[in-house]
């Protein structure tokens, strides 16, 4: 599954910086019908989590009320330069992962 992550080019130690994430997913509610009247089954990303500096720093449990192609912005305190990873999983077991490098000044 396709996703994108964005962090500022450089962050200050001890200061929170914004992490932006967007994931390509239809977030089907299970309430929609196709043109032939057939119900389009529920299919949503259920969980998205972020790891940085050896620990989970953010997690969201999603319902069908999150818009298609989920987009999140959340803060994380800069500790050390290194990889920041976001992973997600949908209700059919499909998963995805994006990462970026955090550069602490």
């Amino acid at each position: 599954m396709l996703g994108r992550i964005q962090v500022p080019p450089e962050v200050k130690r001890g200061q929170p910086f914004p992490v932006r994430v967007i994931v390509q997913h239809p977030m089907e509610t299970g309430f929609r019908r196709d043109y032939n009247g057939k119900v389009i089954p529920l299919n949503i990303v259920e969980r998205l989590a972020c790891r940085y500096g050896g620990r989970e720093v953010f997690r969201v449990e999603l319902g069908s009320g999150i818009a298609a192609n989920p987009y999140f912005v959340f803060p994380v305190v800069a500790t050390a330069s290194g990889e920041i990873v976001v992973e997600w999983r949908d209700d059919r077991g499909q998963s995805g992962r994006v990462s970026a490098l955090v550069k602490v000044a």
Binding site: L2, R4, Q6, I22, N69
Partner: protein, 254 residues
């Protein structure tokens, strides 16, 4: 006196009497959006189309049996600059005006030997979005001369023909009533500069042809199939009507 007015009017008429007036001032689709959606369109991260641009970029460089788009066309930022602004376009091989989707599929099938990309598929919309993005900010500049002229005329005639149970023509809304409100929405000029676009009503990206089909459906008329001569002709007429407006694809629409 009356004769003088008639004469003056005749003199003031455009040289090509078959060229209808275009909206003045011309305004892109984003001018009729809320501030939120306008900001989203220009945010290259949060605009959901960025995901499809990525997809198109991946397809561009991914080899298929040893060949790739990049293999022939190199860097899209150079080779595709301004290309989408010139479509639909007369194609000598096909001997007719073709849309960008058909041009892409010509390469995909004939050049790569890969399976044809279906209308509205993620890969086709991705490639269209990736290619269109290379024309962002450039003026629409289609050619309606020579062999393209008959297609333009066909598109023009369709644009002014009342259709459907609501008995409306494109011009009824997009020339006569742009800027007016219909329920909570403002009627746009129907400028095609932002496509493919992410449309919230669809909760996914779609082509200009899907948007046109939605208009046919909206006035309760039969929808022409994707890639049909009617939709290509209409697309050419709209592109000519938007001549000079800056491209804003990949866009965001209600």
């Amino acid at each position: 006196m009356r004769l003088a007015i008639v004469l003056l009017a005749a003199l003031a008429a455009p040289v090509l009497a078959d060229e209808p007036a275009r909206p003045v001032p011309a305004r892109n689709g984003s001018a009729f959006l809320s501030a939120d959606l306008r900001a989203l369109q220009t945010d290259d991260f949060a605009n959901p189309m960025a995901l499809w641009v990525r997809r198109g970029k991946d397809y561009w460089s991914r080899p298929y049996q040893g060949r790739s788009c990049a293999g022939c066309h190199g860097e899209a930022s150079a080779s595709m600059k301004g290309v989408a602004a010139r479509y639909p376009k007369y194609d000598a091989g096909a001997d007719e005006v073709i849309d960008l989707a058909r041009r892409i599929n010509g390469c995909v099938v004939g050049g790569l030997g890969a399976p044809k990309l279906a209308a509205e598929s993620d890969d086709l919309l991705g490639l269209e979005a990736y290619i269109a993005k290379q024309s962002r900010g450039l003026p629409m500049s289609v050619s309606i001369d020579g062999p393209a002229h008959a297609t333009w005329e066909k598109g023009r005639d369709l644009y002014f023909t009342r259709i459907g149970q609501l008995d409306l023509a494109c011009t009824s809304c997009h020339d006569a009533s742009w800027g007016k409100t219909l329920l909570a929405e403002t009627i746009s000029q129907g400028q095609p500069t932002g496509w493919p676009a992410y449309r919230f009503e669809w909760q996914r990206p779609g082509s200009l042809q899907r948007r046109l089909r939605a208009c046919f459906n909206g006035v309760r008329a039969a929808m022409p199939p994707f890639g049909s001569p009617d939709l290509v002709a209409l697309e050419l007429y709209l592109a000519w009507r938007a001549q000079g407006l800056p491209m804003e694809a990949p866009g965001v629409r209600r």
